[in-house]
Amino acid sequence: MSHDHDDHGHDHDHGASDMALRVKALETLLIEKGLVDPAALDAIVEAYETQIGPRNGARVVARAWTDPDYKARLMSDATAAIAEMGFSGAQGEHMVVVENTPDTHNLVVCTLCSCYPWPVLGLPPVWYKSSAFRSRAVIDPRGVLRDFGLALPDEVAVRVWDSTAEIRYLVLPERPSGTENMNAEQLAGLVTRDSMVGTARVTA
């Protein structure tokens, strides 16, 4: 799609540095008014930069691949099974896990905003929040998957999960062949964020 207004491109750059200044000004105001504690702000940022991210979900997936009892608990009560691993809370209060099989591929979206299972996947990537993904995932999921390089045969059913309520979805991808001798930690290293949203497969 061509964009005839190259001269408007500056808005974005202008916008970015402008945003840094405006956010700083608001933060300063709220601190001065005693409404927020700057150390609490630091702690929130640090939590999402270092602790709450897709490695959590990868550990859940790897354990489900290697521990049949855990997998059974995960499929019947994902919230509790994920909490066993120490992951819980904001934007993951009510979890459901959906399993990919040779016949069925799952894809998660939030068409109305950008709901995403934070405790297991961290903050959503830009593409997940984009209008392109939010709009097309429900009407053209196979086209979206092709954008990610994943061409599904017609025979594989696509199940799209639109996160319209407070249930959050995690895709349990298929364990790749050739990984029979890997342990859970090694397997977790293979599991990508995109595979747990449903826009990729896990490869060995």
């Binding site: 709220l30 008014k33 927020v36 993904f133 097309r136 999921p141 990610f148 059913a157 249930i167």
Partner: protein, 219 residues
């Protein structure tokens, strides 16, 4: 509200563009916006549904133009001004109004992880029986409320099948207006892609939404 945020089924936004090795934040201010929103939320002056509606009611052209954290920033200002935590003038000048009292922040660093780990569950006890059984055919209602709703346009009037219920959850349509939690059964409803998009869709494909009891009629 049938706003531009209700994007399911739209076309024309181009391909999805994944970014290799995407950082958690693309600039430090993004993380500060996230943190400010959470810390201001600790004043408990609004709820998540009102917060979402505040983003949805940004001017539509801004909604499409702004990045995610720009929208959060703009809506946070609306929220804290609307809640009376700050005045518009204070936001504009960046300085507390003369003589304004200094508050004590409710969110301290020690509470951050406990609060993030606890989240805000929306499941509520109920004595009601679910209206719809697993496997029941339902039709999503043709409602067009001016306020917040979580029933997307693309399923309204369409037939689906109950997959299961998740117990009673806080109802966003009323909670967003501070008219009560009105907890009611939340169901996962399966729609055939062909029911939603016509014969061009793959007959194997389905779309699943979590819909509250009030959004559904027996079919």
């Amino acid at each position: 509200m049938n706003g531009v945020h209700d994007m399911g089924g739209m076309q024309g936004f181009g391909p999805v563009q994944p970014e290799a090795n995407e950082p958690v934040f693309h600039a430090p201010w993004e993380g500060r916006v996230l943190a400010l929103r959470r810390a201001a939320g600790a004043w408990r002056k609004w709820n998540i549904d009102f917060g979402r509606h505040t983003i949805e009611t940004l001017p539509p052209a801004d909604y499409l133009r702004m990045s995610y954290y720009e929208k959060w920033f703009a809506s946070t200002i609306k929220l804290i001004v609307g809640a009376g935590l700050v005045t518009k003038e204070e936001v504009e000048t960046g300085r507390p109004a003369a003589g304004s009292k200094r508050e004590t922040p409710p969110l301290t660093p020690d509470k951050v992880m406990p609060i993030l780990k606890a989240g805000g569950p929306t499941l509520r006890e109920t004595n009601a029986k679910p209206r719809f059984a697993d496997g029941a055919p339902v039709r999503a209602r043709d409602i067009n409320p001016a306020g917040h709703t979580r029933l997307p346009r693309y399923v309204r009037g369409r037939m689906g099948t109950i997959e299961c219920h998740h117990g009673a959850h806080v109802f966003p349509d009323t909670n967003s207006k501070f008219e009560g939690e009105k907890p009611q059964y939340l169901y996962t409803v399966r729609f055939e892609a062909r029911e939603l998009w016509g014969e061009g869709a793959n007959p194997r494909d389905t779309v699943h939404l979590d819909l509250w009891e009030e959004y559904l009629d027996p079919a």
